[in-house]
């Protein structure tokens, strides 16, 4: 048995312990460590940037993995490039051969032309000789018969010469055509080869600029500090301007009171509560009231419930979309899928682009995201605090007031790594409270509302079929 055999020579069984040596690819590690990826210093667009940050340790690990992947990709690319270069060399060689062949053909052709000319000359001289012979014969009367025969012969001869000429000419034409065809092919081939040799270079270029994530030198730190100072200069001693704090009233006296007057424009408010606490209904209620009573436009973005089902549900409790005269838009995932078919990017980015486009066409004041959990799960990557912050910043950029519905229990939400309750401007918590064996009430409290003196107490609430009623709970707390 030879060392390279992967089958037993006797029984034919494969020898798994002794696999055939695999040819190794070119060593490329050094190329990779010298140029890992670079990141732009300027903050990128929120939508995309949101996607790419993680917790530090994870980020480092991620970075490592990323580098490894990059290394692998580079190796693959290098292989491809080497292959294409080899191919190119082969092509060039065959090209050279073709040109040589071409030259040979040319020479051959010329030779044949020469031969043809010589033969023509020979034929002509023969014809001349014949004519001479005929004229000589004409002088001899007894040879009249012969003359006739000879004339016949000479005519035959000239026709045959004509035929021969035609044939040669056709042959030449065909050859020339063939040669032209071959030339055209060659040209096309050259163009293709040029394209192949250019593309890989283009792919390689951006990697060449890549820089390592590294410790900054002292100078750079000083620079960064100076830059920081410059950027923040404008923030010193500037008067405490009071950006006009418009507050959107919910048009429900009691609810406004609980919130401390309403929801300040541009706030991102978390509406939290377990299933069945009427989070969606309350959000819808606020939007609907705002649309009907103060002509505020709004968008309800449902990632879970179907649009039709939601609209029907709300119609049953006296909130018809028709009352809003088009001021309120309800969108679900099906709509979104239709509107963004064939678009690249992950769902989250698509969704954000969609909302932005709608906002550009029909600026709305209120936005409801139902729910944050589904939104998080739509992203294909880990959702970090920074992503959350970016999302909220993005809402603020649009200058819309946002209600974000979440289902996680509030205690878990407080501990959440994404810190949404800290990032949000307001938190409204809804609960089911059970009393005795049979009574269950829905309770609500406004835990947080930046800039407002909200009432942090619990309120019991119920829906009358047309509107919400809030009241301080009538519970004997002694028991």
């Amino acid at each position: 048995m030879k060392p390279d055999d992967n089958q037993c020579f006797r029984c034919g069984e494969s020898l798994q312990d002794n696999p055939p040596p695999v040819p190794k690819g070119p060593e490329l590690a050094h190329l990779v460590t010298e140029r890992p990826e670079v990141r732009p210093m300027a903050s990128r667009e929120v939508a995309h940037e949101a996607s790419e940050r993680r917790s530090p340790v994870k980020a480092a690990r991620e970075q490592d993995r990323h580098l490894e992947r990059k290394e692998h990709e580079l190796a693959e690319k290098e292989k491809a490039i080497v292959a294409s270069v080899e191919q190119l060399e082969d092509d060039t060689r065959s090209l050279e051969d073709a040109i040589k062949r071409f030259d040979r053909d040319d020479e051959e052709m010329r030779e044949r032309e020469n031969i043809l000319k010589q033969r023509e000359l020979q034929l002509e001289s023969l014809a001349n000789k014949l004519e001479e012979a005929i004229s000589q014969l004409e002088t001899k009367p007894d040879a009249a018969g012969d003359i006739e025969r000879l004339k016949q012969l000479s005519e035959d001869y000239s026709t045959r010469i004509g035929e021969e000429r035609k044939r040669q000419k056709a042959q030449l034409d065909r050859d020339i055509e063939e040669r032209l065809e071959r030339l055209k092919n060659l040209q096309a081939f050259m163009a293709a080869a040029a394209a192949v040799s250019v593309t890989p270079r283009e792919v390689e270029e951006p990697e060449a600029v890549q820089e390592e994530r590294r410790e900054l030198t002292e100078e750079e730190v000083a620079q960064a500090v100076a830059q920081l100072g410059k950027e923040l200069e404008g923030q010193f001693g500037t008067p405490l301007q009071h950006p006009e704090t418009a507050v959107i009233s919910t048009k429900d006296e009691r609810l406004d009171f609980i919130l401390g007057g309403g929801i300040p424009v541009g706030h991102v408010v978390i509406v939290n509560g377990p299933a069945g606490t009427m989070k969606s209904t309350l959000s819808y209620y606020i939007l609907h009231r705002a649309a009907v009573k103060s002509a505020k436009r709004s968008m309800y973005f449902s990632l879970e419930q179907k649009r039709d089902s939601l609209i029907r549900q709300m119609e049953r409790i006296g909130m018809s979309l028709k009352d809003t005269a088009g001021g309120m838009v309800v969108v679900d995932m099906v709509d979104l899928r239709k509107a963004t078919a064939n678009e690249p990017g992950d769902w989250r980015a698509i969704m954000m682009r969609y909302v932005r486009n709608v906002h550009a066409q029909m600026p709305f004041d209120f936005f409801v995201l139902d729910s944050l959990e589904s939104f998080k799960s739509m992203a294909q990557f880990e959702f970090t605090r920074e992503s959350m912050k970016d999302l909220f910043d993005w809402f603020k950029e649009l200058k819309i007031t946002v209600l974000v519905i979440t289902e996680k229990p509030i205690d878990i939400l407080y501990q959440s790594v994404q810190g949404e309750t800290y990032l949000a401007d307001g938190v409204v918590e809804m609960q089911m409270k059970e009393f005795d064996d049979a009574k269950v009430y829905r309770w609500l409290r406004c835990v947080k509302m930046r800039g407002m003196q909200n009432d942090p107490r619990y309120y019991a609430f119920y829906h009358t079929g047309t509107e919400f009623k809030f009241s301080l709970p009538l519970v004997d707390s002694g028991k």
């Binding site: 990141r39 980020a59 603020k396 810190g419 003196q453």
Partner: protein, 232 residues
């Protein structure tokens, strides 16, 4: 250093000793930002103390708007209280820098600011974000220790806002409670089934003989008040 939270200073024997690093912890909605801003605001009004409020997440505009709504918006304060939004810089810096660089830049900036402004009070909102930006890893405690030391050496009184729930403050995971000179916790206290009150409590304040109990925290017309809790 008085906090100008009525009745709370008395419980601290006059206020927070200068040069202390004080943690203010609480869940969302417990008015951490408002309380700490009020300390800066009142100190500026009463003693013309210079101070810097560094916000790492909430935007400056948003914060100003919030304080305006709370009635803390007197014009004369602008000379003394500086709100700086480090959020954007944080974004650009964390992307390019290696671990530790952010903190280095932050420290150098705060130092140069100390020279030019000579502020006496610093609020960092919030510490959790600072920690994240600084990418503190396994030796969090060591790094925090050096950070706190450095803050003390600056000769300023510092308030660090922390998002840790007060009950968890002294669990093993969180070392800052042990490292800080003072811990003030804020919470929403559920009274019986329905009522909720804001509470403030000085859990720890080195070199003072402070009262340890909870006080109700009330807010009216831009002034905070702590009162004895009255229950049942």
């Amino acid at each position: 250093m008085r906090t100008y939270i009525q009745n709370f200073d008395e419980s601290l024997q006059g206020g927070i000793p200068k040069g202390h690093v004080v943690l203010i912890t609480g869940t969302p909605g417990t008015m951490k930002s408002s309380v700490s801003y009020s300390v800066l605001y009142q100190n500026a009004l009463q003693n013309k103390t210079k101070s810097v409020y560094m916000t790492l997440e909430q935007s400056r505009e948003n914060l100003l708007q919030q304080m305006h709504c709370m009635g803390m918006d007197k014009e004369e304060v602008k000379e003394y209280v500086h709100i700086l939004d480090l959020g954007l810089i944080r974004k650009s810096l964390t992307q390019l820098s290696a671990k530790g660089t952010w903190l280095q830049v932050f420290k150098m900036y705060a130092e140069s600011l100390k020279h030019s402004l000579n502020y006496e009070l610093l609020v960092v909102d919030s510490m959790d974000v600072l920690e994240m930006a600084a990418q503190m890893g396994e030796n969090r405690r060591t790094e925090l220790f050096f950070l706190f030391e450095w803050l003390r050496n600056l000769g300023i009184t510092t308030f660090l806002l922390s998002e840790t729930a007060p009950e968890k403050m002294f669990e093993n995971k969180y070392d800052e409670g042990y490292l800080a000179d003072g811990v003030i916790t804020l919470k929403l206290h559920e009274l019986g089934e329905t009522d909720i009150q804001r509470r403030i409590r000085a859990v720890k304040m080195r070199s003072t003989n402070h009262k340890t109990g909870y006080f109700s925290l009330l807010f009216n017309d831009g002034v905070f008040r702590a009162t004895q809790v009255i229950t049942e």
